[in-house]
């Protein structure tokens, strides 16, 4: 393992310190327990707090700022944060309209946020994101994983909260965006968790992991490497199938947002190539890509690979996607 690290135990705090220094206009870092808040505390709005294991940067701290999050709670690498972090963050950012937690659907994240919520002295609600459609039959599971679609949820909910909307409205929009979103990822290589010091999984030079999770969890199946268009075709297929199963497939032209997300080690050149093919394929199925995002937005450390996320737009979602946002990783209109 070769990484820019001093001591494995310090990587998180050193990195967070660098982040906070580089973006001191946007965020303030609090240590022990670790959480980050907006520099300018928002007033009279629902406070949006997210968090999760580290290693998915810019998720979540990179989305703190106007129009998105009020605070983020970073756990250790790939390990969900602990309730004290959420409690302190809530204490710091609550602004009289309650707290909304946005939580990726993993047992650890869910339980830690749940325990925090139970102890919270404020009105609160939680949006669970579960956009990963890699697991086909999710009836026998605890539900789908939350992956890159989380960024879309955070953007839209953050925008709505900025208008002064109440907690229930924010939760409702978050649930709606999550419901209308599906993602699937493919890994070409494994990631390496610094503390483990070795690749999470072994994969040969001719294999890919279809449906991989953002922690390097195994996916649908191990496959042979193929031309990009075939792989992308399968991903698009999976998303369309998921929409169909959930009765979301559009019967006539419908606007959609396409997010092509790099896992950390995939060149932008390849991400745009993926976008090119995916957009074409969705178009053949009544999905007109009218909003796009291409880049590293929900990463898995140094994994090579990418995920494709599609969100079915409606006027409300479009409005909140387009509205101004000013964070370290997403910025427009301001």
């Amino acid at each position: 393992m070769k990484k820019f690290i001093n001591k494995v135990d310090n990587i998180l705090v050193e990195s967070l310190s660098g982040f906070a220094k580089a973006h001191h206009d946007l965020v303030e870092l609090h240590l022990d327990p670790n959480f980050l808040t907006r520099t300018n505390k928002a007033q009279n709005k629902v406070a949006i707090i997210s968090g999760g294991g580290s290693g998915h940067e810019p998720l979540h701290a990179g989305y703190i700022g106007y129009g998105m999050l009020d605070a983020a709670c970073p756990g250790h690498v790939f390990t969900s944060p602990t309730p004290d972090q959420m409690l302190m963050a809530a204490e710091a950012v609550h602004a009289d309209k309650g707290i909304l937690f946005i939580v990726k659907n993993y047992a650890g994240d869910v339980m830690n946020f749940e325990m925090a919520a139970e102890m919270l002295p404020f009105e609160h609600a939680t949006v669970l994101t579960s956009d990963d459609c890699a697991v086909v039959n999710s009836t026998y599971t605890t539900g789908r994983r939350g992956v890159a679609g989380t960024v879309i949820v955070e953007k839209c909910v953050g925008s709505l909260a900025e208008t002064g909307a109440d907690l229930q409205a924010c939760k409702a929009l978050g649930d709606k965006v999550n419901h209308r979103t599906a993602s699937i990822g493919v890994a070409l290589t494994s990631c390496t968790v610094p503390a483990a010091g070795r690749a999470t999984f072994d994969i040969s030079d001719t294999e890919i992991e279809m449906g991989v999770g953002i922690h390097g969890e195994p996916g649908r199946r191990r496959e042979t490497m193929r031309p990009a268009d075939e792989i992308i075709g399968d991903c698009v297929e999976a998303i369309l199938m998921d929409f169909k199963t959930r009765q979301l497939q559009p019967s006539k032209k419908h606007e959609a947002l396409l997010l092509v997300n790099g896992f950390g080690a995939t060149p932008l050149m390849e991400l745009y190539l993926i976008y090119n093919t995916a957009a074409k394929l969705f178009n053949l199925h009544n999905l007109e890509i009218s909003r796009s995002l291409v880049g590293n937005y929900t990463t898995a450390l140094d994994m090579a690979g990418a995920s494709i996320t599609l969100c079915l737009l409606d006027d409300e979602i479009k409005q909140h996607w387009d509205s101004p946002v000013h964070t370290a990783a997403l910025r427009w209109g301001k």
Binding site: G53, N112, T142, R144, H215
Partner: protein
């Protein structure tokens, strides 16, 4: 139960976790995200370092303090579950006392109940509960029969081992491995393994002459 023993057990558990680094790490790498060893090590080390703070406390207070500490230390799925275990066990001990094996068994069962409630899982879902539920049942049974602590420990070691091994052939329906479907088969659940190791460690301590 004595606080002294709790501390002794905490130190022994730390040793056990450290000694099983590669096992725990690779189990979670196979069907999880690879951090279970690191999480357990962080928790075990933190508790071991609480020695001085715990020494003067009553056993239930000590267990509660351990639970609270774990809650803000481990994170992940195992953090809130193990924390809930200790906090609930402490609560039962405080209410019922700890003067007999049966009372301790009841407290242990209370801890396991808290895990069930927090994680909304049951037997056969390929989690730590596949160790903890049978062990808890066996513990209560053995204590009810008023068996000697040596015998109880021998039984619990065996039950824990069986429970841990039973996870191998299961499909996971809770936790991170739930995403894997059939691919989880053939792999032991990491949380089941660490619980089995911890139970074995504590029982060995009690078996020591």
């Amino acid at each position: 139960m004595k606080t002294e023993f709790i501390i002794e057990a905490a130190l022994a558990i730390q040793q056990t976790i450290l000694a099983n680094e590669s096992t725990l790490e690779s189990l979670d790498r196979e069907i999880g995200d690879g951090d279970h060893y690191i999480n357990m090590k962080r928790g075990a080390t933190t508790v071991a370092e609480m020695q001085a703070d715990l020494a003067s406390l009553k056993p239930d207070e000590a267990l509660n303090k351990i639970g609270l500490k774990l809650l803000s230390t481990i994170g992940g799925a195992s953090g809130p579950l193990l924390a809930s275990f200790f906090m609930s066990m402490a609560k039962v001990l405080k209410e019922n006392g700890d003067e007999s094996n049966l009372k301790i068994a009841a407290a242990f069962a209370g801890g396991v109940q808290a895990i069930i409630q927090r994680g909304k899982a049951g037997l056969g879902e390929k989690t730590m509960l596949d160790v903890l539920i049978p062990v808890s049942n066996e513990f209560v049974l053995q204590a009810t029969q008023n068996n000697d602590i040596k015998l109880i420990c021998a039984k619990l070691i065996q039950t824990a081992e069986q429970g841990m091994l039973s996870t191998k052939d299961l499909i996971a329906t809770k936790g991170r491995a739930a995403g894997l479907g059939e691919r989880a088969i053939g792999h032991i659940d990491p949380g089941a393994k660490s619980c089995q190791l911890m139970i074995e460690t504590v029982c060995h301590l009690l078996l020591k002459p």
